[in-house]
Subunit: 387 residues, 2 copies
């Protein structure tokens, strides 16, 4: 990342703070700090609406100074010094209330007396959702790496192996080409270990906010691959995120050893039709929830309305999610998401169906919003791989 | 986990709430909810000081009912219904302020008018820190699995492979035997992808709250294995957590291809002496910070005071951390930790040294606090493996 790009990000944040009548942002989430400084250390970032940002570092100061692309990087001061350094009484100070714990909020409220704290979650998330050309290149790089591992799946997918064996093979190859492993998610209550390999018709209910959750390995980890064996003539859904230089892309492909049930094949064809409709709709100004409704209507008219995006009765109401430094960024192509799309936003589009007793099926690719519709980053045939 | 064990956990929490004059706890962290119910779904757990707990489930209700070991598990109600269901005006309601985001706190404050919210972080964390016999068996199981992979390291560690290749081999084998992958950490600002494989003498500064952080793969992921090649006659430190049924153990072993520098060997011997002193000190009633100070004094008198627990200038001030469902549980054998140890607490003890230009070296094992001192769970020779 270049110093000029970091400078532009800070300027955009300052403009939004100024327009909202907020005197400064105090950013505490590591991923937000990375975005605005180029370094992810244990630190707090102060960005005044006017003036120079300052990064206060608990650990590691050496590393923050080596990597950080803003001018003022210093040790975290004593709580007495903080108040003199960060604004003044009467200031409105923005924090990301979606993620900052109450204890952090209380501590800063005490050491920065007279400030009123306001929520700038949506400002930060919206700014981060629009990717620069440099970020899109990073995402394209991640996509190329991730697709290269999906391309190898036929080399190691065998009948009789367990879902967790398949997941382990994918994860191993991803790590060897530099996948960073930890997939950041922002939403409280969500967790993900990289992705999932899910086969067959076992019911799969779970907390994970996706169409397919997988059974996981225990009730403590109730999501992703299980110990079940992969059998012939069953759909095998492989859905993984790849993280390189912090940038996440997400994709899903289907595999079958033998032949696929005709109803599942029909559902898969519908998922491709929905993906193409969503891709075309991904232009600046489009409304996320309208795109979702169009997708849900297509599923409905194809006879798969009750299977779209989840187990019947526990269906998710989205068809795509923003990706970038986190797996659950803005925008969301979802019920209730009324903000217009912007050029440069990047969305993983994943129309999927769950047919109880038969299994989960669908597609997922990561696209950039452009004037010509979604531009695909994850280059690899969508077709079901038959082994 | 048995229903009776869950019942006992709830009773212990209720007793602590009652003694603190708190009418109920509203638990929102998934890991806390898992501990008190046996199911980790997207949900909120209400535990009144007197009466029956209720689990309110957003997703998945089906799975929460299949796994949960409390009686009252129901769909998350409308915000209007919540207030009638959860206590009454004037109640003091406990939340874990260390982890619950401001936005969650604000929402519950609004829908539960008249309640005052208080912090029960230390109550919950302290209860969770004392493991039952059933939990210790789970941890022993995790330790056996983790040790089995450490035992295989000599089979695949080769000169010239990159740190990330070594990490990938360890992770692959762990996954194949059922490691759940996602290592829960509680502290705001911490993140970990499983562990680290770190070799040689490159300086390693980083945010991670440990003795050794590793360079990682990018400034976005500045921790753990890097792309550097592992060379002969360099210390290779392998430090991984294993997660099985949610229960985490942590261990570190040293490897060298060729022969080890004499100063590093001396430091390693000191780490074994410190480990044994800490192990003996791990009896009920011992004070965490006194155990740490004794360890630091031993490092100092051996001439390695400036290298103990981190890069000179950025040393951590602890020698052991609680483990269980999270990697950073109580107790901590650390500066500032004055609570007496309790029988059944489980601690990863990790005396380590970083010698700039030469590398990181040390040992780590997971022990249970007993009347006879620490009882080791991670059974495997401590000796440096020379290849």
């Amino acid at each position: 990342m270049k110093r000029t790009e970091i400078g532009e990000r800070i300027e955009r944040l300052q403009a939004r703070l100024g327009a909202s009548g907020v005197q400064a942002a105090l950013l505490l989430m590591p991923v937000d700090i990375f975005y605005f400084t180029g370094t992810r250390q244990n630190s707090a970032l102060w960005v005044p609406a006017k003036g120079e940002p300052v990064l206060l570092v608990r650990k590691s100061l050496v590393r923050a100074r080596a990597e950080g692309l803003i001018g003022d990087i210093r040790p975290f001061p004593s709580s007495k010094e903080l108040s003199g350094l960060l604004g003044s009484e009467g200031d409105k100070v923005g924090m990301t209330f979606d993620a900052v714990p109450v204890a952090q909020y209380s501590w800063y409220s005490k050491v920065l007396p007279g400030r009123s704290f306001v929520d700038v979650t949506m400002i930060v998330r919206e700014l981060r959702s629009v990717k620069s050309p440099a970020e899109i290149e990073m995402l394209r790089f991640s996509a190329g790496k991730l697709a290269s591992v999906f391309r190898e799946v036929p080399d190691f997918l065998k009948a009789g192996m367990r879902e967790v064996d398949l997941a382990a093979e994918v994860e191993f190859r991803l790590r060897r080409i530099g996948h960073e492993g930890y997939v950041r998610m922002r939403a409280f209550n969500q967790e993900l270990f990289g992705g999932m390999a899910v086969s067959g018709g076992a019911a799969s209910y779970g907390f994970f906010d996706g169409a397919v959750t997988g059974q996981g390995l225990s009730s403590a980890s109730p999501q992703g691959a299980s110990l079940d064996a992969i059998r012939e003539n069953e759909p095998v859904l492989v859905d993984f995120a790849g993280v390189f230089n912090g940038y996440i892309v997400d994709m899903t492909r289907m595999f079958v050893i033998g032949s696929l049930d005709a109803e599942l094949r029909r559902a898969f064809d519908v998922s491709l039709e929905i993906q193409e409709a969503v891709r075309r709709a991904m232009v600046p100004g489009a409304i996320g929830e309208e795109v979702y409704r169009q997708a849900a209507a297509m599923a409905e008219s194809a006879g798969f309305g009750g299977n779209f995006m989840g187990m019947p009765g526990e269906q998710s109401r989205f068809v795509g999610h923003g990706v970038g430094l986190e797996l659950d960024e803005l925008p969301v192509l979802a019920q209730g998401f009324a903000m217009p799309l912007q050029a440069g936003q990047v969305v993983a589009v994943e129309p999927k169906f769950v047919i109880p007793g038969k299994g989960a099926i669908g597609i997922e690719n990561t696209f950039v919003v452009t004037e010509n519709g979604g531009e695909r980053l994850t280059e690899l045939s969508d077709e079901i791989v038959v082994l």
